[in-house]
Amino acid sequence: MSRGMPFVAVAIVLAPGGALAELGFNLPPPATGIAREIYDLHTLVLWICVGIFAVVFLPMFYTLWRHRKAKGHVAASFRDNTRLEVLWTIVPALILVGMAWPATNLILAMKNVGDSDLTIKVTGRQWQWEYEYLDDGLRLVSTLATPRREIDGGNPRSAHYLLEVDRPLVVPTNRKVRLVVTATDVIHSWWIPAFGIKQDAIPGFIKEAWFRVEAPGTYRGQCVELCGIGHAFMPIVVEALPPEKFAAWKNEQMTATKNATAAAQTAANATLSLTELTTRGEQVYNANCAACHQPTGLGIPGAFPALDGSAIVTGPVAAHLDRIFNGKPGTAMTAFGKLKLLSDLDIAAVVTFERNSWHNHVTAPDNLVQPAEVAALPR
């Protein structure tokens, strides 16, 4: 059976309605060989199903119409037919074998993660993705870029509302990229529809997947395993660049990372004013903390504790710092310092912000934390 034929049939059905095509009825255009094979396999299976449906239900509607009581039809009385029953057990079995064969081959191809050109570690976390280029030690954290007010205002404006991030994953085209996927807190799932890969990110375990993108471009997906209140807000964006551009990008990033580390070291020794710290702290808070603890600092009772009036936030600095630096195991509270998600400066800023916001007015000198105090914590 040719796999091209049903594909042509779909094209004929869908082609006349250009507007319909834009509405989106089908899998997105494939960007990898695997995704294309999945697309074709789905088309094949779909048309087999449509065919069987017609073969079964046309006779049913015919008999409902033709042999109806209202027309005075008298019922026949047959109750079985062995030959027919054997036939409709064997024929479906053969059809299933016809579907299982290409599916099995495709599974084996999808599972073949060997001979990869580069390996990227993907870590899911409530609610952002972290990417680490294992061969180069390059690391980036990718967070939703859609502004909170657009979401809460119920008024999506951005072109890629909810499917845009601050820092996309960048990969080379025509290279076999192997992903090792894991998570730190709960199960997430990494999915780019155009690549035909979806891999659950399971805390404590490492799972593999791979893709080879054919054309440069920006590809979008999102987390597909329920992971708490931010589940809808952890998109995945992959930017595929030609290999030489990718190499240039990577060098640029390595340099930038080096500079940033140097800058952080300088910052760690700097002494900042209360205003400088709280201004920066508010930004850090909104990007990393507000989803659970809320912009009001009131949290969600029973689920996420309030920071407004909290004993930890208004108590000794050490306990407050420890909670943010080391997190709280078994909860959604991440170890922002230990996992290197926030710089020392950012941690100092957000701690200072929390101690001086809402109804929290910690008296000096405990109201202010300098980056050096964070740097002094044991790692």
Binding site: F25, N26, L27, P28, I38, L41, V45, C49, I52, F53, F57, P59, M60, L64, H67, R68, H73, A75, A76, S77, R79, N81, E85, W88, T89, P92, A93, L96, M99, A100, A103, T104, I107, K111, I151, D152, G154, N155, P156, L162, V186, S189, P193, G196, Q199, F205, C223, V224, E225, L226, C227, G228, I229, H231, A232, I300, A303, P329, G330, A332
Partner: protein
């Protein structure tokens, strides 16, 4: 059979008031309780779904915060499955199994009372969890850890409610098995039982086999949450994916627990209104049994994206595809039952026909999902939501609605309002498809399930689905009205309002006497249905 005697004995012993319902051991009373409980849960869980659809009407967060949204999806699923669908079928079993096999009551009448009264307690526990700090459980009805470990006290309440519901199901199943195996009227061999009784017998075995697995796995969650065990925590040597294996070892047979009795109802209704015997009775029985056995071998097809090795994926793909064969046999048999019948289209028949067509669509999307590479694209998207609503709403719930119309005349002694029934059917069937068919497209295009907000490219189909859902929800109020109207009065049904019906309950008066078949009825023919 001494019908006159059974009709007039014991009527005076029926007490009145709430104590009648609290203390009843009568299978008809308990059946009625199950069915009303189920209808109430259906309306409550349906209302939760309408809140979900209201939020999803447009992109952006308009009405609900994500935390509450996740509570709604979780509780909608749990209440529909454990509160609405399963108790409805047990209600049918209570009313119909004794009547169809000529038994005076269920085998364990007192156990029967307890099985039912566990359910309202469980439902109260689950519903009241919306009002505790943090709100209800919000980790999805599948309760996957570690997310489930993060929750507040509502999560424990949900676990305990599931324990109660599971206990109720196990006790009910034991009762049904014992009744069917021991209380059949003389001469009714297993292969002469009505097909509905057969489907329930097999379902009851599934329940006894898998509800303890569910009880165990939620208990392990509970001890992980509170007592420092690490069954599902990698840091302590556990594995979050093991929860999924155990859960779906329960969960997949559970899917058939919710569909096999529906097959039984449809296989009863179709021959009645085709006025023709069920085609291939024996192969129907074997098909149901094969589906039940295979249901234990397919669980990991819910987990194709967890990173199973290729061998595992291939095994579970093949075993899942195999289920298409007995399922196909059932559909072919139904069509052959209708073939050259004298078909008429009363409300029960309309629901049964719609079930056959729409359930088959759900079966096909199930086949699509069974194929691993395609499932990788569709897992955890709206395609899956479309699939299981075609199976569970069009398959299970529409069979239940059809079954209620079919037996209401027997239960109440009155005919339901046929015109209202037909309107209810068409509204339900059309609104159902408007709601759920577009979800296939949403899933293919790439919309994940369980999200409170989505990218604008998914907006059109979501709006359509929401409109369909509101109509679908409102139509069920018409059903409630039609049922109440039928109970209050209507044209007398007579003993046997459906000329094509063949089973034993139609030899009794409508409504049947409070205690029926106190002496076993005599089978007059040799046909599987017991009575020609």
């Amino acid at each position: 059979m001494d019908l006159a005697a059974t009709r007039h004995t014991h009527h005076e012993t029926v007490s009145r008031g709430p104590m009648r319902w609290l203390t009843t051991t009568n299978h008809k009373d308990i059946g009625t309780l199950y069915l009303w409980f189920s209808l109430l849960m259906f309306l409550i869980a349906g209302s939760l779904a309408l809140l979900i659809r209201a939020e999803l009407f447009q992109p952006g967060l308009q009405f609900l915060q994500p935390a509450f949204f996740n509570q709604l999806t979780t509780m909608h699923g749990l209440l529909m499955i454990f509160g609405a669908i399963m108790p409805a079928f047990v209600g049918f079993a209570n009313w119909q199994v004794p009547l169809m096999i000529g038994a005076p009551d269920m085998a364990f009448p007192r156990l029967n009372n307890w099985s039912f009264w566990l359910l309202p307690a469980a439902a109260c526990l689950m519903l009241s969890s919306f009002f505790v700090p943090g709100g209800a459980a919000a980790a999805g009805w599948t309760m996957y850890p570690p997310l489930y470990i993060q929750g507040g006290i509502a999560y424990d309440m949900t676990i305990l409610a599931i324990h109660l519901m599971g206990l109720s199901s196990i006790l009910g199943a034991i009762n049904i098995i014992t009744t069917i195996l021991n209380l059949r009227t003389p001469g009714m061999t297993l292969m002469k039982m009505p097909i509905f009784v057969w489907t329930w017998l097999i379902t009851a075995y599934l329940l006894v086999a898998v509800m303890p697995v569910l009880a165990s796995v939620v208990t392990m969650l509970l001890t992980d949450r509170h007592f420092g065990t690490h069954f599902f925590d990698a840091a302590g040597g556990g594995d979050p994916v093991m929860f999924q294996h155990l859960f779906w070892f329960f969960g997949h047979p559970e899917v058939y627990i919710m569909i096999l009795p529906a097959f039984g109802i449809v296989s009863t209704i179709l021959p009645t209104f085709a006025r023709k015997p069920l085609f291939g009775y024996v192969s129907m029985v074997y098909a149901v049994a094969s589906i039940a056995i295979l249901s234990f071998l397919v669980w990991a097809h819910h987990m194709f994206t967890t990173g199973l090795p290729a061998g595992g994926q291939i095994f579970f793909m093949y075993s899942t595809m195999l289920i298409a064969i007995p399922t196909g046999v059932k559909v072919f048999n139904w069509v052959a039952t209708l073939w050259r019948g004298a078909n008429s289209f009363e409300t029960p028949m309309l629901f049964a026909l719609a079930m056959v067509c729409l359930f088959t669509i759900g079966g096909f999307s199930g086949l699509v999902l069974a194929i691993v590479p395609i499932d990788v694209q569709l897992q955890d998207t709206y395609y899956v939501v479309a699939h299981f609503h075609y199976v569970l709403f069009a398959g299970a719930a529409m069979s239940i609605l059809g079954g209620v119309y079919y037996w209401l005349p027997k239960w109440t002694g009155h005919m339901y309002d046929e015109r209202l029934g037909q309107i209810h059917f068409w509204l339900t069937a059309i609104a159902f498809n408007v709601t759920f068919f577009p979800m296939h497209f949403l899933g293919l295009v790439g919309m994940p399930r369980r999200i409170p907000d989505y990218a604008p490219q998914f907006a059109d189909f979501n709006m359509l689905a929401s409109i369909g859902a509101f109509v679908l929800g409102a139509s069920q109020l018409l059903f409630l009205y039609t049922v109440i109207k039928c109970i209050r009065g209507g044209a007398p049904a007579g003993d046997k309002p459906w000329e094509g019906a063949t089973t034993l309950e139609w030899t009794l008066s409508s409504p049947p006497p409070y205690h029926s078949f106190t002496t076993p009825p005599v089978l007059t023919t040799d046909t599987p249905h017991g009575l020609a």
